[in-house]
Symmetry: C2
Subunit: 557 residues, 2 copies
Amino acid sequence: MTPRDWLHKFGAALERGDLNAAAGLFEPGGFWRDLVAFTWNIRTCEGRAEIKAMLAATLAATRPSSFAAKTDEWFTFETALGRGIGHLRLRNKQAWTLLTTLQELKGFEERRESNEASPAAKAPFVLIVGGGQGGIALAARLKRLGVPAAVVEKNARAGDSWRKRYASLCLHDPVWYDHMPYLPFPDYWPVFTPKDRMGDWLEMYVKVMQLDYRASTVCTRATFQDGAWEVQLVSNGEPLTLRPKHLVLATGMSGFPQMPKTAGLENFAGTVLHSSKFEGGAAWKGKHAVVVGSGTSAHDICQDLHAHGAAEVTMIQRAPSIVVRSESLMELAWGPLYSEQAVARGISTAIADLTVASVPFKVLPDLQKPIYAEIRKRDADLYAGLEKAGFQYNFGEDGSGIHALYLRRGAGYYIETGASQMIIDGRIKLKAGVSVDHFNQKSVSLTDGSVLAADLVVFATGYGSMNEWARELISPEVADKVGKVWGLGSDMKGDPGPWVGELRNMWKPTRQENLWFHGGNLMQSRHYSLYLALQLKARYEGMATPVYYLEPVHHLS
Amino acid sequence: MTPRDWLHKFGAALERGDLNAAAGLFEPGGFWRDLVAFTWNIRTCEGRAEIKAMLAATLAATRPSSFAAKTDEWFTFETALGRGIGHLRLRNKQAWTLLTTLQELKGFEERRESNEASPAAKAPFVLIVGGGQGGIALAARLKRLGVPAAVVEKNARAGDSWRKRYASLCLHDPVWYDHMPYLPFPDYWPVFTPKDRMGDWLEMYVKVMQLDYRASTVCTRATFQDGAWEVQLVSNGEPLTLRPKHLVLATGMSGFPQMPKTAGLENFAGTVLHSSKFEGGAAWKGKHAVVVGSGTSAHDICQDLHAHGAAEVTMIQRAPSIVVRSESLMELAWGPLYSEQAVARGISTAIADLTVASVPFKVLPDLQKPIYAEIRKRDADLYAGLEKAGFQYNFGEDGSGIHALYLRRGAGYYIETGASQMIIDGRIKLKAGVSVDHFNQKSVSLTDGSVLAADLVVFATGYGSMNEWARELISPEVADKVGKVWGLGSDMKGDPGPWVGELRNMWKPTRQENLWFHGGNLMQSRHYSLYLALQLKARYEGMATPVYYLEPVHHLS
């Protein structure tokens, strides 16, 4: 059976409502991932029973048709309300993985802008809290779809959340992965964008896209009543109330700082910061710095402190983390989809994004493991050096590397761009397998009894779940009703089970009516903003959007 | 003989230095247009004798090689110093037209930017006077080539020269024609960019390209001595002297306002403006306005005044002008190279630009005439209406339309986007074949003796030659040494003969050492900025740049 034959049979089975025939075209354990096209949700069905149950609930309203193969893997299709793109992987004549994505709503396609000046901004139907790359990308999609939306941002200028960080910060993902929607970076752009250029690009983007972007505006309280939100804001010092129908928290998947409570803090004469507040090493020349954590921020900050002449920089590694050389990751992990070579092979950003989306999260680790096995061999010198320095590295609990780890808990890895070599060389000191026990006046005592002189202690200890923002802005009840945001239920560290198969609460309906979470890295902000925008557009136009399957809440944070 | 055969023979003849054989591969009256690759100049050789003379002077230094056909029309080649792209049109086995263009200098290719922050701006090797689209495009090219360059602009913000114009102004060229280098407009961009969006785009572009752009800076005097310029500036109110090696006047091909001296001005109680100073019709509601001229500005301004409720708007048409419907121009003139359809056919901006460049200016009118013959038929209703209203229209003195007219004198046409219909309807009044004889206190008297009440008189009477800027900034002697800028020597109105075959003094060496003129429409600013930038880069790197053929100066302004 060719992919075209399969697709023909599949389309025919759906059109005649034959659920058994449709499900039977999959492997018994096959996957169907749907992005909004069938489910008005983001949902992966695993196995024939789940596929059949999904179809039973959605087929009548979806009325899929016009399945048309474009290549052996890619196809297009229509539903009652929209047009979609799909991806198919066959194994032994049966579908191993199927992806269906909604790309546009019929009658509401994105159109070239008219020559007329933009009309004045309307009262927002959607309020987006947080004006970083996530909120901006979503606002741009909504703008193009004609959905009135406003973005509120606490900083004075778009891009400030990048500008305010330490000077050496740059993106660790390559430029091909980082494009914003509609307006890609120019061809000559650096592979790894420095933070100020990213900030300036976002500021420019807000202007060029003519977004309703309200800087210096803080959201203080949001209440849902009578089918809409009442949101209290302070904008440039003035109180302001908005009544959007939908509220999107785009406050940063890494946005809610998390610091361990540590004894003796009140006695400490030095400075204690969460990594998100670290503005650069210049102030710490000749001083003693302790950085708690061994992820990306911890490494970057140690490197920055050392570069600025700190007298001593010590990393406190509490638990193993993944380290991978940037070059190896570029060649083996990003290269096939996001690279100069991929562009030369005709792989557009959209195709790359859809290809990534076509891999069910359950399948992903096994596809990633060979990459890391190869990396371990290729960069044996790096790992030998780290081992000698006492650094505790791994490749994830199951050896599947940073992509899978990022989806599980959004942290726990470092892409080597210099700091690992400094650890190996001893320029950055390391204490591994310990944590801070308590503060003294001018030092910290570690759990192994050792003491480190300290003028500065940076906790590069990560971020809490995004529903902490709901707790702060809305209520503890809503935060608990919605539950934990992010993670797949892999039952590994930071991502407790049971397995849910999709990122919890991201870009899809939550258990709080009209509350949405948006964010992630630049690729996710770009790609998933489309599906969130289409969900909001359908609601704005009053379409029926029956949501299939709301995940039970297993964890409160 | 196939194009590949021709190219093979041509390359072989050049490599063995056989000028007769090379020239003999052209039609007796064939054309070779060279953009910097052979001549370090912009030069069209017309006929075998000119071709042979050019080769005799340039071949030894150029050492062309590696001619390689890419399609039946396009080829690549190398010279001693650079790499180029060429275009060939064969007729009866001989070359009718040949284009050779330098695209990059060996060892100085444009490279992806590094992740490092840009180093602080160096003292400029090139000073660009005028920060509109022309100056900005050139500065961007020089930035990418690593040539220190600064742009000085009298306005406070990049883009102000667009923002300050009347509100209804928008580009009359379609978006595909208007891209800036490196960073094209997004796909959804309006076909005809409104002026404020253009202004904002330029401001963003300056920032994203990290240009050394000095706003609120006026150039007061420039003197050439000892092989460099001494330039006096006033920057934000403070005097400043710069000593660049090269000076580029990018002050606007339409930048030096030209107004006829008219008797009685001192008695006039109303307002008199050049079109470039007209900021919009809002101030003239209920007033009587007279607009002198019948080109683009005159039409736009009449339309804007009428839209804002002026009591009476009269256009004074002194001489015939070309009127063409935007839709017809789009379909018949732009469409094949600059349109959504062209993009869909794979015609990139670069290919479109090079295709335009491949047509020798001598040949252009005959290629354009059929387009206008078709337009005349298709839009017979428009022309009948204009005739009935008394409007004097033509299609250029030789019927070759606006593209040719633009090259001859940069003015004299209107792309109909509403004002012509207003003239036909009588909403805009028209007096044709007359001019203003003198001003009275509250009116103007025309040369036919009629009198028009006037609160406002706008002279939409065009612009002087760009060497007027040299007269003002440098000296009358330098202005006269350089001579008239723009025009081909067609011996038609505004473009006196003799024929010179290229735009006078544009983007190429002038008779004043180290003085250059840059500008034109957005397409020209984009495309020719490459060749001007390469000429400057070669000089910056100390390469030998023997200039072949400096045009004699036939006209002083």
